[in-house]
Symmetry: C2
Subunit: 288 residues, 2 copies
C-alpha cells in the first residue's frame, strides 16, 4: 500500500481519475489539482485558515439566487473573468476589444427603433445621445448589425436589482441602418459599487480594496458571419477608471461624453435641456 | 493607464491589495491569485467551462446546511483536507499518525464508563470490543487521557445524517485508567459511501471515481501537556483501503478485528455471541 505524503498526494488524486475520463476534463482537473495542492503547500495553510476558506465558499454559494451571483462577483474581483475573456477573445488588430459580460445581462430586451430613449423618462440622470457605426475590419459599414445595450440606473442599481423596477429599464436592442449607423437617447451612465454586503464585499474590505466600477454602458454587438463582441463603453474622466473593481477597463473603450447645448439632437429630435453626446464605432471581424 | 494582458493581470490583482493588508492574508491571497491565474492560463479555460465552474461552486454552496458540508466533502475528495492535515501535523517518529476529522464530528458526546457499549443495542452490526492504551513517546502510560470516539451506523449513516436518530448514537468519550488503558464495546465499523447525491457525487462520477470510504472508527485523543491526535482506526481487509475517496488511509492505522468465540470479553463482561476484538495503543507527544 502506498503511503501519501505532502509531495505525492496531488499525484495520487490525479491518478485516481479513471483513464476513461473525458480527456478535456482530465486535463482541466489535473492542472486544477496540481495548482490547488501547490497553493496549500506554498502557504502552509493552517487548519483555521482552511476552515475560513470553507466558510467563505459556503457563504458565497448561499448568497446566490435568481438576481445575485456572488461567485461571478468573486471571479470578477479576482481578475479571473477578465482573464477568461482575454484568453477567449484574442482578436485581430483593429477589432473592438472585449470586456466582461458582468452579472446583470438578461435576455429578451426589446428591439427598438433607432432614436428611442431607453431611459424611458427615468428620474434623475443627465440626458445623453449615443451614436456611431458598426464596421467590418476594412472600415465598411455593416447594415442590420444588432446592438444589445444595458446600463445602470441613476440610483446605481440595475433594474434586476430592484424588485419594484419596471421591466427592461435602460435595456434595448437596436439594428444598424443601411449605413451601419446606430443611435439612441439615454442618460449618462454613473459609476457604482458592486454589491458589497456579502462575502466578496468582506474580502474587498479585508484587502483594502474599493468596490467601485467606473461608469459604463454594456454592449453585445453581433451580425451574421461576424464574431460578436461583448464590451463596455467607459465615460472618460470617471474617477474609477484606474481602479475598476473587476479590472474591466481598456483604453480603447473610453469615450468622451461631450456636453452639448444645441437645441437639436444629431438625429433631428429636439432637446429641451443640455445633453451629452458620445460617439463610438464598433468593429467586428468575420467569424472564422 | 496600464493595459491588462493575460500575462500581467495576476500581478495587477495582487498589486490592488492595500499595503496595510494583514501580512498573512496578503501572503495567502498572493499565492492563491497566482495559482488561480496560472491554472486558467495553462488550460485556456473557455467561457462555457468557466460558467460550469461557477455553477458547480454555486450548487456546492447551496447544498450546505446544518447537517451537510459539501465544500468539506469537495476538499476531502480533492485531497486538500489530507494535505492540510499533513502540513499541520508533522510528527515525531513513533507518535500516532493523524488523519482527517471528517464532516461528522459533533461536540458534546457524553463521557462514559470504561466498558460501555456505545452501540446502545443498535439493530444490526457485529459486536466488537475495542481496547488499548494511551502512551507517551517513551512508552509510559498516560492516565486520564480523553478519547472522543464516533463511528458510522450499520446502515452506513452517521446519526447526524438521520433526523430520526437518537442523539449520540455510536458516540462517546472515555478516560484512560491509571494504567493508561481504555476499552469499550461497540460494533465493527462498516465501509460507506460519502454523500454522493450532490455536486461532489457528480464530480466523482465524471472522473470515474468511487465514493466509498473503508470501514473506520474516529478518535480524537487528548491529554494535558500533550498534542492531541485526530485519527481513525481502519479495519484490516476492507476492500476500499486502497481507494479511500478522501485519501485518509495510513498503514499504521489499520488494525485487525479478530473473531473471538470466548464467552467472556477481555473486560470480564460475558458475551452471548461471537465478537470481534481490536487492540490499538495511541501514542501522544508532549506539546511544544
Amino acid at each position: 500500500m502506498k503511503e501519501f505524503t505532502e509531495e505525492n498526494l496531488a499525484d495520487a488524486v490525479i491518478d485516481r481519475m479513471s483513464p476513461q475520463t473525458d480527456p478535456r476534463l482530465h486535463e482541466v482537473m489535473t492542472s486544477l489539482i496540481r495548482h490547488l495542492h501547490s497553493f496549500v503547500r506554498e502557504v502552509e495553510l493552517n487548519e483555521q485558515e482552511w476552515m475560513q476558506a470553507i466558510e467563505f465558499l459556503t457563504d458565497t454559494g448561499q448568497l446566490c439566487d435568481d438576481s445575485r451571483q456572488e461567485f461571478i462577483l468573486l471571479s470578477d474581483t479576482l481578475g479571473v473573468s477578465m482573464l477568461v475573456d482575454a484568453i477567449n477573445h484574442r482578436r485581430l488588430r483593429g477589432a473592438t476589444e472585449n470586456t466582461v459580460l458582468g452579472p446583470f445581462h438578461i435576455n429578451g430586451a426589446p428591439v427598438c427603433e433607432l432614436g428611442t430613449d431607453i431611459s424611458r423618462n427615468i428620474e434623475g440622470g443627465l440626458p445623453a445621445f449615443v451614436s456611431g457605426r458598426v464596421l467590418n475590419e476594412h472600415g465598411a459599414p455593416i447594415a442590420g448589425a444588432l446592438l444589445d445595450v444595458w446600463q445602470v440606473r441613476p440610483d446605481r442599481l440595475y433594474d434586476v436589482q430592484d424588485p419594484e423596477s419596471p421591466e427592461m429599464q435602460l435595456r434595448a436592442k437596436f439594428r444598424t441602418d443601411a449605413d451601419g449607423r446606430y443611435y439612441f437617447h439615454t442618460i449618462v451612465p454613473v459609476s457604482y459599487p458592486i454589491p458589497d454586503d456579502g462575502s466578496v464585499g468582506r474580502m474587498l474590505t479585508a484587502l483594502g480594496r474599493e468596490p467601485w466600477r467606473p461608469a459604463h454602458m454594456h454592449f453585445i454587438v453581433s451580425a451574421n458571419d461576424y464574431s460578436p463582441v461583448t464590451t463596455h463603453l467607459f465615460v472618460r474622466g470617471d474617477p474609477y477608471l484606474e481602479s475598476d473593481a473587476v479590472f474591466g477597463v481598456k483604453k480603447s473603450l473610453i469615450v468622451d461624453f461631450k456636453k452639448t447645448t444645441a437645441a437639436e439632437a444629431p438625429d433631428g429630435s429636439s432637446m429641451e435641456t443640455d445633453f451629452y453626446s458620445a460617439e463610438f464605432d464598433f468593429v467586428l471581424v468575420e467569424a472564422s
